[in-house]
């Protein structure tokens, strides 16, 4: 059983500030924890501890045999305290991360996403899942983008957050450097149809904030503005597409053009 101070320490990781301070975060639920046990995460992360109900431990003796030194039994009440979910799912893993690993210098033939202040954890999780599906090489996150190591976000992203490389950057500075040699794309209402534009194999795709779109100060770096054409019967609605679905459609267009 865990001590009160240990529980308190784990619970603090529900908050982004403490995750950044401790370089630790939580992964919840049978499916995702089993992915972690099988090593399905990038080398910036490490599995530190597992907190599980006795039933889960009994059902998974073979799998956790290798991890028994770091596997701790918790009861339902403690699991509730550790978990961010209303109905916690048997097991939670404590992971650590190296904030300095995985520095990517973009290359011309690779595909990148650069996210400008994405706010909604569900959207960011979905974008990571899409990025993994479409083989995006790295996701660059501007200041003001929600923390990807939020447990709910890891869940909504089906664990893709643990496998797709990402980096936090000053997006303005970063684009000012890399837009000189790598094509930069972004969706705008006055862009060129994504169905007609000839897309390069690699490049940087900028995705804007859910309500404000791409920051005006970044527009000058986006040398290939794109438009997802609208086929609505009533032209006024909807005003826009959801950030994650727009990302999916644009990534699909990049990949369909190279096969």
């Amino acid at each position: 059983m865990l001590s009160q101070s240990k529980l308190k320490n784990i619970r603090s990781l529900h908050i982004s500030k403490y995750r950044a301070q401790e370089n630790k975060f939580l992964v919840e639920g049978d499916k995702l924890v089993k992915e972690c046990l099988s090593g399905a995460f990038s080398n910036r992360f490490a599995l530190k501890e597992i907190y599980a109900l006795q039933d889960w431990i009994d059902d998974n003796l073979l799998i956790i045999n290798k991890f028994k030194d770091i596997c701790f039994h918790v009861d339902h009440k403690q699991l509730h305290q550790i978990s961010l979910q209303k109905n916690p799912n048997q097991v939670v893993a404590l992971m650590s991360f190296d904030p300095d690993l995985d520095i990517h210098s973009p290359e011309t033939d690779k595909l990148y996403l650069a996210l400008d202040r994405i706010q909604d954890p569900g959207n960011l999780g979905t974008i990571f899942r899409l990025a993994e599906w479409f083989g995006v090489d790295c996701i660059f996150l501007s200041e003001g983008t929600v923390d990807p190591l939020n447990p709910k976000l890891i869940q909504s992203g089906m664990g893709s957050v643990l496998r797709v490389p990402y980096e936090k950057i000053d997006l303005n500075n970063w684009l000012s450097v890399h837009s000189k040699k790598i094509p930069v794309y972004g969706a705008f209402l006055d862009g060129e149809s994504v169905y007609k534009k000839e897309l390069s194999k690699g490049g940087i795709i900028v995705i804007g904030n859910e309500s404000q779109g791409i920051n005006d100060s970044l527009r000058k770096y986006i040398n290939h503005p794109l438009l997802i054409p609208k086929f609505s019967n009533e032209q006024a609605y909807p005003e826009s597409l959801n950030a994650a679905t727009a990302t999916g459609i644009i990534l699909s267009e990049f990949k369909r053009s190279v096969i």
Copy 2:
């Protein structure tokens, strides 16, 4: 000010069962209520009453002049009771709907979505928004699909739920009839690449439940199984795409092929 029994009656509409009983539902927030005041909803709906903070009424005198007989002042406490949001946004509208209007008999040159037990309100809202963007003619909802008139869902769908025709059906029976004359598409792991398949102008696209996909019993009606190819570096992950993003990519493919 509203009476307690009136408040209770309005609050009951947070629950799907009472919405179906009363044929009424709520629309929340300045942006969506203003769309309703401008008449941006289909003719199966009618605007019945508006509940607003005095500040909102004062700021929108010109707009609500036409509606002053059905506009009621509420204080912050009452707004909190009416609203499903943590931080309610000034105004809520009460709408009615005609459950029997808008019976669509599918035609071969029109595009339809048929949703098989979509559970997540956010996903269903996003699918309605996508459907409006891509000019889908009607969305057919199986039994077991979440109620589209949930106030949170209307919000996440940017009000598209109020404009895109939809109908609740017995999906199995419905497909057994219409699959005889209209092409039926659906995403499967062993389908034909959506990038290579020649897509018809119209048809029915079946979208499956978030965790279980399309029900096995429906498979026989889907004469055009589709696949969204995966470009992941590690083939095991992610296992699937989110239902709403997959819908977006497939709709985009249908529309790009006819322009």
